[in-house]
Amino acid sequence: MLFNSFQFLLFFPIVTLLYFLLPHKFRWLHLLIASCVFYAAFIPIYILILFFTIIVDYIAGIMIENAEGTRRKWFLVLSIVVNVGTLAIFKYYNFFTNNINDLLHSLHVTTYNIPLLQLILPIGLSFHTFQAMSYTIEVYRGHQKAERHFGIYALYVMFYPQLVAGPIERPQNILHQFHEEKHFDYYNVTDGLKLMMWGMFKKVVIADRLALLTDPVFNFPHQYPPITLVLATLFFTFQIFCDFSGYSDIALGSAKVMGFTLMQNFRSPYQSKSISEFWKRWHISLSTWFRDYLYISLGGNRVSVPRWYFNLFFVFLVSGLWHGASWTFVIWGALHGFYLVFAIVSQPVRTWLNDKSGVSKLPWLNNTLQVLSTFVLAAFAWIFFRANNAGDAFYIIQKLPGAYHDLMHIVQTHSVYFMNIWELPNISYDYVGLCIGLIIFMEAVHVVQNKMSITATLNKQPKYVRWAVYYAAVLCIIFMGVYENREFIYFQF
């Protein structure tokens, strides 16, 4: 079920209340059942796939711990093969098969079509397979003891707040929490609810509002002039952040209400001063997963320079593929890989340029330029992430320079009618102004949050101030929310 749905509005308080009413020894079972109900609200039969991988990894974890020598590795390989294999079948089989068919046809090797599978991608597959692999790898590395309680292990994979879109947890962080007896804590509950509220605000007030423009423009880019394509790209840049971080906040908040601490997944990524920093602030659970289990396994940066560059590029290529079985995601990942390698290679030149121009002597200017350029690079890459196909993405990119002329046209004629968006449902000057205002508000909150804890500051205020803020937030969510049963973007992974 979606977090922004009526079903979750009923599900969450019932599950939480029962959780605190039940004795500790039954709570794992209650949460497991609740998580099964949560998952089964999508496509019930696919819960069997989840159970299959859970059983395999549970057994593999124990066998890895009990075995010695190379047998430990074989059990790890079994776990990885089952998880990656499940992902490969459901997510990548048709993609690779279509490409092989196209290649064979274009080379006139055969006219035969390798059959495709009629399968729907199980929701959250990419997330829970990575979380499951994280477990067996950590057991293998000796950083985590194998979980002997099957129910607790199943809950580790299926814990509903982070089941379908992360954060991708590490067993060291969360497994022990399921064993600990949690008590009702007033501040955990209220802080968790505030985090959920903030997440819901970002999702239904900002992200889904921005989607009213980005969806039609990205779905039919040829119908819009360059300036509109630029606007849609900028809006999508914030839409995907608000959508995904909003989900993460709701996940973290709902876990916190019950006393569980999940890892932070976003840290004001658009305030990054480099792409490297961006990936330490964006989808942190995924980027650290790739760093710890792929990048370091390939040798990381403790290899020759060319191999180091290859490792970086390859990891991001795989990351792109993780996001979706489509060339647009592969290109998006490759672009980020290229950004990182280029940043390293060009570092001496950029430092020299900064020194020569005097920018390095003006920290505020230097920082601003770094933040802006990182933002532009990330926004540019998002074009591939959102476009329906590579052709549309390249079309949009090709049109971008024309936005300058469109901007000059607007300045000279004071007319924006040619942007071709004003006939779209819900789109008006007020809409664009409101979207920009909401983005500025959100980034201002991030800037303030970097300097002090907003929650802690709010908790110190008198009751009437706190309740006024809470009512304002809830009323904004109710009255300004866009409710069209929009799924979270990352649900498609």
Binding site: S5, F6, F20, F184, V189, Y471, F479, E484, N485
Partner: protein
């Protein structure tokens, strides 16, 4: 925990009161049952989900009326009057089983609903166009979402759509102002409609009155609405895929089982887009050529602006003309 629950209940009290107010006012007429879901020759002000009114009115009146003949379709079918259809079928137990923004999903759902209730379907007149045929899933939003007894989907989600609609700022503001002052804002409907509860017919009274008063002025005021059409014929993109064909087959199976005498009319729309030949062929293959009458595309009906209220809906006399041809000679080109 009790302290928290007490504070939470206190915090939620205003929202609970608003919900209670919503239930009491029932602006969309979905909570309580009504003798008539639409005002008689007066504006409704609050837009009602026609589907909801159609289904609830049917359930209430069926025991007495024992309907056996149905006109199905979107708002474009509204103007196919029961009185006109009566002359072609030997029944006067006619019901307009229609909905605004009706879909293939909705038409199939309604016929399945009738069959499930063992309500005989002796005659059916199904008015389609590319927009209707294209939609094979439930609609979203309170105005067009299918009744749960038609869609088979969650009743909770259905009724929650109306709660969401009530709590939208624009609607709540306009509704409050209207309740207090009688002035209707943008989100309310001040056009009068003529409604007949027995047949569930809804006709455009305000527009007809305006036309009777000043037909020249009517079209002059709507120059922007009646956009200039191209001279060259336009063929719509094909819309029928496997999921649509499955629904069409479902409709056919029900009509066959019920031994229904039926006609499917493809509307003559102002856009002059001819239903794609592949789609027409599909309909003919499933239902038989004798049941399909295609009035889409560029023809004498669609050429004449005076046949339309605006770019989407043709008038009752056009519907009567089209029916005559469908039950008589068939195609009009």
């Amino acid at each position: 925990m009790l302290v928290f629950i007490r504070k939470l209940l206190l915090f939620l009290l205003p929202f609970v009161l608003l919900l209670a107010l919503y239930a009491y006012l029932d602006p969309f007429k979905v909570i309580k049952h009504y003798d008539s879901y639409f005002a008689h020759d007066l504006p409704n002000y609050v837009y009602i989900n026609k589907e909801h009114g159609t289904v609830e009115n049917f359930k209430a009146r069926y025991p007495q009326q024992q309907y056996d003949s149905y006109i199905l379709g979107s708002s474009r079918s509204f103007n196919f009057r029961a009185a006109d259809w009566r002359q072609y079928i030997n029944s006067d137990k006619i019901y307009h089983f229609d909905a605004s923004k009706e879909s293939l999903f909705g038409v199939a759902g309604k016929l399945a609903f009738l069959q499930k209730r063992n309500s005989p379907i002796k005659h059916a007149l199904i008015i389609v166009d590319a927009t209707l045929l294209k939609q094979a899933e439930n609609e979203k939003g309170h105005l067009f979402i299918k009744h749960p007894e038609i869609s088979g989907e969650s009743a909770i989600s259905y009724y929650f759509e109306y709660v969401k609609a009530f709590f939208s700022f624009n609607f709540l503001y306009d509704y409050t102002i209207w309740k207090l002052t009688g002035k209707a804002g943008k989100t309310l409907d001040s056009k009068a409609l003529h409604y007949d509860e027995i047949t569930n017919e809804l006709l455009q009274k305000s527009l007809e009155d305006e036309l009777k008063k000043d037909s020249v002025g009517y079209y002059a005021r709507r120059k922007n609405v009646f956009y200039t059409r191209k001279n060259a014929p336009i063929i719509a993109n094909a819309v029928l895929q496997e999921k649509h064909k499955a629904l069409l087959q479902q409709i056919k199976n029900i009509l066959t089982e019920q031994h229904t005498d039926y006609k499917i009319i493809i509307s003559p729309l102002y856009n002059q887009e001819q239903l794609n030949p592949a789609d027409v062929a599909c309909l003919q293959q499933i239902f038989g050529k004798e049941h399909i009458s295609d009035f889409s595309g560029k023809n004498k009906i669609t050429d004449y602006v005076g046949n339309y209220y605006e770019f989407s809906h043709y008038k009752p006399f056009v519907a009567a003309q089209v029916m005559a041809m469908a039950y008589g000679n068939g195609q009009y080109k």
